[in-house]
């Protein structure tokens, strides 16, 4: 009971402390990402990328003193809702940046877009919010999820692969992934295998692939699953079959996959070696600060900070003028690390997509590198269902 009283006291204290947070001379940004469990590394990249941008801009976005409050959604949608309410009402944030995962986005989208804050997703970009349920207060600095998978499908089609073998985890994003791949690939799909989410050992599936002898293999296997799959794929002696993947061999997993992933292909909107001056500076600064190669998660979070910076600047620091901020956000008047960037009618980016390949750098670290551009100024297929303009 004592403990309970203590907790209650703490909560009341929190309530009281929030009263003082009204002053508008400060820009408050709530960052909600996954920092628990095996996927924490992705949330860490988003947090670091965003913080780096704020630091680079001298602790100010659009010239306004900026405070970043970080919350961990624990990859539990109901927890995320509570945390987001905390950011909105306790911390009175002006922007919520996050999350990493689609199911968390589904849960927090409504609470944030109904509030006085804007929601900026640095990673998750689900189809429903790109289409019919698009929202003027919701912006995405990554992509519509399907697009990355479409890159590989298009590439496989262009390259003339006849027979492919597809594999994804048995959940919604996995199903969307294979659907995305098949949107541009018209050849034969030998088999579509769905593995249980969190599966560690792919020997059963690898045996199937070996037996099927496809021209190429496409997979979507994020996080630790991807690490395991890549290692086992190489160990099973299948590396002569082209390995196409999305979110499977990126900078979050390469430190573990190392040489096993070299030469494997992926789709992205950017790579650490994307050739422009702002990106070179970003990658160098990120590596210096955090000792790791940044991935798209970090890049998109950095861009999210630049986007906010540009909008606040355009409104002359009037953080509270929601309509003005919204209009300024929509213009996306900033220099993206990936190069050209603008928003479509649904507030999802219109951008180029590239094929990337894993390479070992001279300093022994691993990164993805741009091979060729697959889509130019690509608009997602759901945009036309969005009533915004």
């Amino acid at each position: 009971m004592k403990r309970y009283m203590l907790a209650l006291a703490t909560v009341s204290a929190l309530a009281l402390s929030a009263v003082g947070a009204h002053a508008q001379d400060k820009l408050k940004i709530g960052l909600i990402v996954t920092l628990s469990g095996p996927s924490a590394v992705l949330g860490g990249q988003v947090r670091d990328g965003f913080n780096l941008a704020v630091k680079t801009l001298g602790g100010k976005l659009g010239g306004v003193e900026t405070e970043v409050v970080v919350a961990d959604d624990e990859l539990k949608p109901d927890v995320a809702v509570t945390k987001v309410k905390g950011l909105l009402e306790r911390d009175q944030v002006n922007f919520v940046v996050g999350p990493v995962f689609s199911n968390v986005l589904q849960a927090i989208h409504k609470p944030v877009t109904d509030s006085s804050a804007f929601l900026i997703s640095p990673n998750a970009g689900t189809s429903n919010f790109a289409g019919k349920q698009c929202n003027p207060n919701f912006f995405v600095t990554s992509y519509q999820n399907d697009q990355v998978h479409e890159v590989l499908g298009k590439y496989a089609q262009d390259k003339g692969f006849k027979k492919v073998f597809l594999m994804a985890p048995n959940y919604q994003a996995g199903k969307d992934s294979l659907a995305g791949f098949k949107r541009h690939f018209k050849g034969e799909v030998l088999d579509e295998v769905y593995t249980p989410l969190g599966q560690l050992d792919f020997s059963a599936e690898l045996a199937k692939i070996a037996a099927a002898k496809p021209d190429a293999f496409f997979t979507f296997m994020p996080g630790g699953m991807g690490v395991n799959l890549v290692k086992q794929y190489r160990q099973a002696g299948l590396a002569n079959i082209p390995f196409l993947s999305a979110f499977t061999t990126d900078e979050s997993t390469l430190p573990a996959q190392k040489d096993d992933a070299v030469g494997f292909l992926g789709g992205a909107n950017w790579a650490p070696n994307t050739d422009n001056p702002q990106n070179k500076a970003f990658v160098a600064a990120y590596e210096a600060a955090y000792g790791a190669v940044p991935g798209t998660y970090a890049m998109q979070a950095y861009d999210a900070a630049l986007l906010i910076d540009s909008a606040i600047k355009a409104t002359g620091g009037k953080v509270g003028d929601k309509d003005a901020v919204r209009a300024a956000l929509k213009k996306a008047n900033f220099t993206s690390l990936r190069g050209a960037f603008k928003f479509g009618n649904n507030n999802y980016p219109i951008q180029d997509f590239v094929l990337v390949k894993v390479a070992k750098r001279a300093d022994g670290k691993f990164q993805t590198e741009v091979v060729e551009t697959v889509f130019k100024d690509y608009v997602d297929v759901y945009a036309k269902e969005c009533p915004l303009n």
């Binding site: 009971m1 403990r3 309970y4 109901d78 909105l88 306790r90």
Partner: protein, 335 residues
């Protein structure tokens, strides 16, 4: 299962203990009823949201405590009923039925049915085997929900809004919703308390203490344990209905085995078998989680050892500790 240790709180002399518990619980509910007023001072939605969520889990924890504390049935799949309740809301809502007076009976019926079907199998076993068979059924339901593509699969589905009562959007306001949840928690607590003190409850407790004796006076444990599982399942499904409404979202994440484990931890932390311990357990676990995570990103480094210490203390959770402290005070007061 060492059953004798299951109910530390009952070592108190019944009459005075009852009086002190009644006054404590009354105090707790008064404090909770006043909270929205205090919350007006700032961050209202956040505090209401946080505490509402804790109250919903308290309902689930009470339902678990009925079978755990009074029936010695350790369910490691109790989160399944949270899922059943929330999917009843989600699925009905996605077909246009947003009436909570329809959703609740469907949820409770589905929860009861699932409890009936799985309990009939699980109750053939006992001890750890029972624990694991409840886990098995929980996992089956979880994977089933993941494969429900029509309802969002793993991503879950977003509700169009809170459920309506008789077609009116009465639950829309956070404060109203909070009071509805608080009232339902109060009702759940009182009803469950009465069940534990009824004829049925006495049989259930008797089976926990000494099943052989109960058989020898003519009670078939299976029937009563199954009935208890059905009541608990139905109650927890109600909590699921509320959880879906609170988050506006339904997902298989509500019924992972980790969630079942958290429910168990809430009940044990609060002190099993005392029902109000379940409320305290849910509130302190969730509030502690929130408060600690505000202090540091590494909050699990604090929460983990805290749980270990509570277990090592062996007081029978917070409720047991409170009873022990009170007994000491009472004894000191006597010559």
């Amino acid at each position: 299962m060492s059953q004798q240790q299951a109910l530390p709180a009952t070592t108190l002399a019944p009459a005075s203990a009852a009086a002190w518990r009644v006054s404590f619980v009354a105090l707790l509910f008064v404090a909770l009823a006043l909270l929205p007023i205090a919350a007006k001072l700032g961050a209202e939605g956040y505090i209401l949201n946080l505490v509402t969520r804790a109250l919903i889990f308290a309902i689930a924890a009470i339902s678990l405590d009925l079978i755990l504390g009074h029936g010695a049935l350790v369910s490691f799949g109790h989160a399944a009923y949270l899922g059943i309740g929330s999917y009843a809301v989600g699925i009905l809502a996605s077909h246009g039925v947003e009436e909570v007076l329809l959703q609740i009976p469907v949820a409770i019926g589905a929860g009861a049915l699932f409890a009936l079907a799985t309990g009939a199998v699980s109750l053939r076993t006992s001890g750890v085997y029972y624990i694991m068979s409840t886990l098995a059924f929980g996992q089956m339901l979880y994977f089933f929900a993941v494969s429900l593509s029509a309802y969002g699969g793993d991503d879950g589905l977003t509700l169009p809004g809170r459920s309506t009562i008789l077609g009116m959007p009465l639950l829309k306001a956070d404060t109203t919703f909070y009071y509805v949840v608080l009232a339902l928690l109060g009702a759940t607590y009182v009803l469950t308390l009465r069940i534990t003190r009824s004829r049925f409850g006495r049989v259930l407790n008797g089976i926990r203490e000494n099943p052989a004796r109960m058989k020898a006076i003519g009670f078939e444990p299976f029937t009563y344990q199954l009935a208890a599982c059905i009541i608990a399942g139905a109650t927890c499904a109600l909590a699921g209905v509320l959880l879906a409404n609170q988050t506006g979202f339904v997902s298989p994440a509500y019924m992972t085995w980790q969630r079942s484990g958290e429910l168990l931890v809430m009940v044990i932390l609060g002190g099993i078998g005392s029902l109000w311990g379940a409320i305290i357990g849910a509130l302190s676990f969730l509030l502690l989680e929130e408060v600690l995570s505000l202090i540091t990103e590494q909050w699990k480094l604090i929460l983990g050892p805290f749980l270990v210490l509570v277990a090592l203390g062996g007081y029978g959770g917070i409720a047991g500790l409170a009873d022990t402290l009170r007994n000491k005070l009472v004894r000191r007061g006597q010559p």
